[in-house]
């Protein structure tokens, strides 16, 4: 078991009160597993990724316990997290196009970064990995601005995984890319896992079709809570939570004729996380909602490895 997350809660402080971005999420991640984290804007998927590496100062850690390889991660303490960041837990951020220091040549930046962790650069290994993502070795002598978006993305992927972290978090890294580049990035990530550069991975995206190409397991979140978690194939083909079902049926596909068929969206908007409703958070938009939904639905294993938080599932 690489990662074990128990009842993780993360609240943000704002002027209007506390935003309960993540409100009691538990899950486990096995060795070599790629978990796809899917959901709409504001469901807490980015917060979940960032909290595991503690990247955001506004985050007020409230509760929960996170274990990585049997050791507790001090995600509540910015300073204590330092020895884990980059070496044990690493992230490819959403903004990786601008994640590199623009005033340093890339080679020097990598060297400085590794120095700060007390590690010397293994140039041979670095070159090997550049070859793997099909980047010219000369990029190390260039400035980030000399690289195209796709090249910067690949460079950041190499840097983030250079110390073979146990857990890699990839946050919406494909959303600014063209479809053909997306495919290359996903192939590379899978390669990193297969070659053992990273033990396990959390791949965050709003695009379920894309997650399905990469992830072993998909976890769907809604308004700061887990809605459904199951092997990718089960989430896509046999979803049990009404939210997942509606979400998947609202996705248009290539290769289907829509001449007189119409897809439908989900009416309404997600609830405010300043003051979320009591009970199931999807109840106001759910066609199946009934009285019981005013109580919080527990996460239940309905089939092997298929977890759903819904009274009707």
């Amino acid at each position: 078991m690489t990662l074990s997350v128990q009842d993780l809660r993360v609240y943000y402080r704002t002027l209007r009160g506390e935003v309960k971005a993540l409100d009691g999420v538990s899950f486990e991640l096995a060795d070599g597993e790629i978990l796809g984290l899917a959901g709409e804007s504001g469901c807490g998927k980015t917060t979940l990724g960032k909290s595991l590496i503690r990247m955001d100062g506004r985050m007020k850690h409230v509760g929960g316990r996170v274990e990585l390889d049997g050791e507790e991660l001090p995600i509540g303490d910015t300073v204590k997290m330092n020895p884990f960041r980059f070496t044990e837990v690493s992230i490819i951020p959403q903004y990786s196009m601008s994640a590199m220091n623009p005033t340093r040549k890339i080679g020097r930046m990598v060297r400085e970064l590794l120095d700060s962790r007390g590690v010397t650069v293994d140039t041979e290994e670095l070159h090997r990995r550049l070859d793997l993502v099909e980047l010219d070795r000369d990029v190390l002598k260039r400035y980030p601005m000399e690289l195209s978006g796709g090249m910067k993305q690949r460079m950041v992927m190499v840097i983030s995984t250079l110390l073979n972290p146990s857990l890699l978090i990839a946050d919406e890294i494909t959303s600014a890319l063209d479809v053909s580049t997306q495919k290359a990035v996903v192939t590379t990530l899978k390669g990193f896992r297969d070659l053992g550069f990273v033990k396990s991975m959390i791949f965050i995206t709003h695009d379920i079709s894309l997650t399905n190409q990469l992830a072993d397991t998909i976890m769907v979140m809604y308004a700061g809570k887990l809605a459904e978690k199951a092997p990718s194939d089960a989430v896509v083909n046999r979803p049990r939570h009404p939210y997942t079902q509606l979400l998947i049926s609202s996705l248009p596909e290539v290769g289907v004729r829509y001449a007189d068929k119409k897809l439908t969206g989900i009416p309404g908007n997600p609830p405010s996380l300043l003051d979320p409703p009591v009970g199931c958070r999807f109840q106001d938009r759910c066609p199946l909602a009934f009285d019981k939904c005013r109580e919080e639905p527990p996460v239940v294993e309905v089939e092997k490895d298929h977890y759903v938080a819904c009274w009707k599932a």
Binding site: E40, E253, V254, G255
Partner: protein, 259 residues
């Protein structure tokens, strides 16, 4: 209704404009009444540049764009925008955050309908909101930050409808929206199409183009590589680039080969 013939756009680049970059290269296609044509391409393919030229935000370098037979550059601007309007990618930056969102309607009234009585105008706005399936009480008199991206995007479409437009340029209008609301905006376009609106639907998302359009134009580096009925382009693509593009689309029920 809208016809592009050999339209090109060449930008001057470099310090003194010494070099040139061809963004759009001799593009010709046509969009009829009640028809949605999707313009598909990756970043830098020139798809947004075409939209901007149709909206007269930038001039074409060569070729002609005609609307109902008249060269659009010769038409009176105000009259042209009464018939042709655009909606863009980012609904949040389309509004001035310090004013209420419904100011976009009063600005239309000031310019195009100064003589209309307040009562008649209110009814007209209510009808336009009805058309985009928004509840007036939920969206009027609100600031942009109080509304969702989907609501803001639909308000912009309602604004365009107030002008009895015949043609809409929709440039990536759903790419900032969530999956659950995206499809509603697309269905709205499909309804408007039934009423005779012509739409140039610019997108990088092939699945959306496949869902909404009758015909599809595939652009690559400013040139049209494939153009035809949507089923044909998607089911029997002839150009290698289209085939490559289709093979890279992540599909829900099918996994990529060799990944």
């Amino acid at each position: 209704m809208l016809k592009l013939q050999g339209v090109s756009k060449v930008f001057k680049v470099g310090t003194f404009g010494g070099r040139t970059a061809t963004a759009v290269d001799e593009v010709s296609f046509e969009i009829g009444r009640g028809e949605v044509v999707s313009l598909i391409g990756e970043s830098g393919s020139g798809k947004s540049t075409i939209g901007k030229m149709v909206l007269r935000l930038i001039p074409a370098t060569a070729g002609s764009i005609t609307f109902d037979g008249a060269d659009i550059t010769k038409l009176n601007r105000r009259e042209y925008y009464r018939k042709v309007q655009g909606v863009f990618q980012d609904p949040f930056s389309s509004y001035n955050p310090i004013f209420k969102a419904d100011r976009i309607f009063s600005m239309i009234k000031e310019v195009y309908f100064p003589g209309e009585s307040a009562q008649a105008w209110r009814e007209k706005v209510a009808a336009a909101l009805q058309d985009v399936r928004l509840d007036p009480a939920a969206v009027l008199n609100k600031f942009p930050h109080q509304l969702s991206g989907g609501q803001l995007q639909r308000l912009l479409i309602a604004r365009a409808l107030l002008l009895d437009i015949g043609f809409l340029v929709a440039d990536e209008i759903t790419s900032m929206l969530d999956a659950s609301t995206r499809i509603d905006v697309l269905n709205l376009l499909a309804d408007l199409k039934q009423r005779g609106l012509g739409v140039l639907f610019i997108t990088h998302d092939l699945a959306l183009g496949n869902y909404i359009s009758e015909r599809t134009v595939v652009l690559y580096q400013g040139r049209i590589v494939e153009y035809g009925p949507t089923e044909k382009v998607f089911e029997a693509p002839e150009h290698a680039y289209t085939r490559k593009l289709l093979a890279s689309v992540p599909q829900l029920h099918r996994k990529w080969e060799g990944v």
